[in-house]
Symmetry: C2
Amino acid sequence: MPISVSTDTETLARQHQNTLTKPAGSLGRLEDIACWFAARQGQVIPKRLQAHICIFAADHGVASEGVSAFPSAVTAEMVKNFVRGGAAINVLAKEHQASLSIVDVGVQTDLQSLEGLIHANIQKGTENLLHQAAMSIEQQWQAIEIGRQQAREAIAQGANLLIAGDMGIANTTASACIICELAHADPQDVVGRGTGVSTDMYQHKLAVVTQALERTALLQAQDVLHELGGFEIAAMTGFYLEAAESKVPMLIDGFISTAAALAAWTINPRVVAWMIASHVSEEKGHALALETLGLEPLLNMGMRLGEGSGAALCLPILQSAITLHAQMATFQSAGVSNCDD
Amino acid sequence: MPISVSTDTETLARQHQNTLTKPAGSLGRLEDIACWFAARQGQVIPKRLQAHICIFAADHGVASEGVSAFPSAVTAEMVKNFVRGGAAINVLAKEHQASLSIVDVGVQTDLQSLEGLIHANIQKGTENLLHQAAMSIEQQWQAIEIGRQQAREAIAQGANLLIAGDMGIANTTASACIICELAHADPQDVVGRGTGVSTDMYQHKLAVVTQALERTALLQAQDVLHELGGFEIAAMTGFYLEAAESKVPMLIDGFISTAAALAAWTINPRVVAWMIASHVSEEKGHALALETLGLEPLLNMGMRLGEGSGAALCLPILQSAITLHAQMATFQSAGVSNCDD
């Protein structure tokens, strides 16, 4: 599948940057971002961003091991909060003019009657990954297709930047397992405190991840997602794959999003060329996972919320980069002397 | 003068943060920012930000030493560009709904006939700080008063966040001198490449700063600004002093702004409680200067433009922090279980 980036357009965009009334390079990463979008939109002056955020929600069998500070019921409660507009991601999406959709891809609580939610529940939570595969291979591909479908719809409605968000109590445990496997890392370097577990609970969580990885020892990369993942993580994986194959850039959020990005990269390594990392979260192992993908985060705000919140916070920075690129005067038009005049 | 911060309000704001539907602390620095504004606005839910950016422009006698990649004429050319709306700071101010004013506090070129510019020219550029005091003590206080006046006017018009920007060819040389003196640092650790000087020019710039500091050896802190500063830097100093004394927060930009912040801190150490550092610039010594003030920058985007551009880029992050604080649902209102329920 042809998902290549236009390096010619990137070169022209870089030349345009050097005509703008500022010392060359003085806008730092903002210049790189503008040229990055130029190459991916295939036009020297990229269009204004129209971001769509899609939150995938699901529960995790491994929550029964007591790895989270919050009960599984919170997944559904937060889904209701998203639909009513009260969560952090709602506030950020509104503040930064992004559209938002919420998908139930495997929440434990029955949410069939909840309006404003996209109903695509595969099963009421995954199996417990400590003891068995989290989902079947068929369920994994079903979740991936749900994610792909969401990306297709967002793109059809005009989105030119996609953000996946997550909601699922215990999903830092599943994500830690995925990152350990796909980034070839030690649980000690990856498992974090998630929503904020105590030190005792953290030791227990670390033991659960370690034992799950012993269960799946010698796993092939292609089996990591269904063995250790979650329905929302698999859906996010599909969302990313579809975005890249449709040549639409995506902005990666935190720990869960990056686990899904690693899973997508395992399926198609070229997806990474369409990804920008928004922030590095407080969750241990996130920096390491980003490094594996070769992505350098824009922000470090000590966030660890998920929901796509770190990515949404980054939107005005990306937009600023593009607007500067599009609207600044040139040395010639403004009659300003350049340094080599 | 009473410029104290309301720690009671900060405590109440922190309590409010902990009722919002997210794990406590999971918004990281965004939570700190919201509480910081609460304490300074004196209300648990701070008002939406209304930022005013004031750019102070002036020329520098030391430019004749060949310390910049650009000729002095560019100061006036860029002032015209600001007035016409073509510079980076114009684009960012518009994108993030900040008001903007431009003040000629000492540009070499005669700009009397330029409309849209605030005319407060003290002298057509400073003296050459390599050989003599950049300005007289009287001129220093005159520049400080010009800055104070701009802050007063912005506050009177409703601004609740002030940003000072700079324009002045060779002002990284003056700022490096100030930072070396006030942060007790070595020129090697402070002098940077400014707008982008060559390696040879950089060595020359370093020698100029070192010699200027030899000339002013044993200088008292209170004499640093008029001996080694610039008219725009002194005006920014006054702008900061007035903001703090009026209990209005300010957002500090890059290298030049931080030199002015150090000068303001020398005059009144309590100004720092009203300052947020927006970004750490590529200019060598900026991180060190921020550290001296105890300020931790929010962004690191490799910028080195000045004009207030790094601060303007930060505005949506500050606003996001406040909007989240003001608009998120609480655990109670949303019916979400908290971790200790």
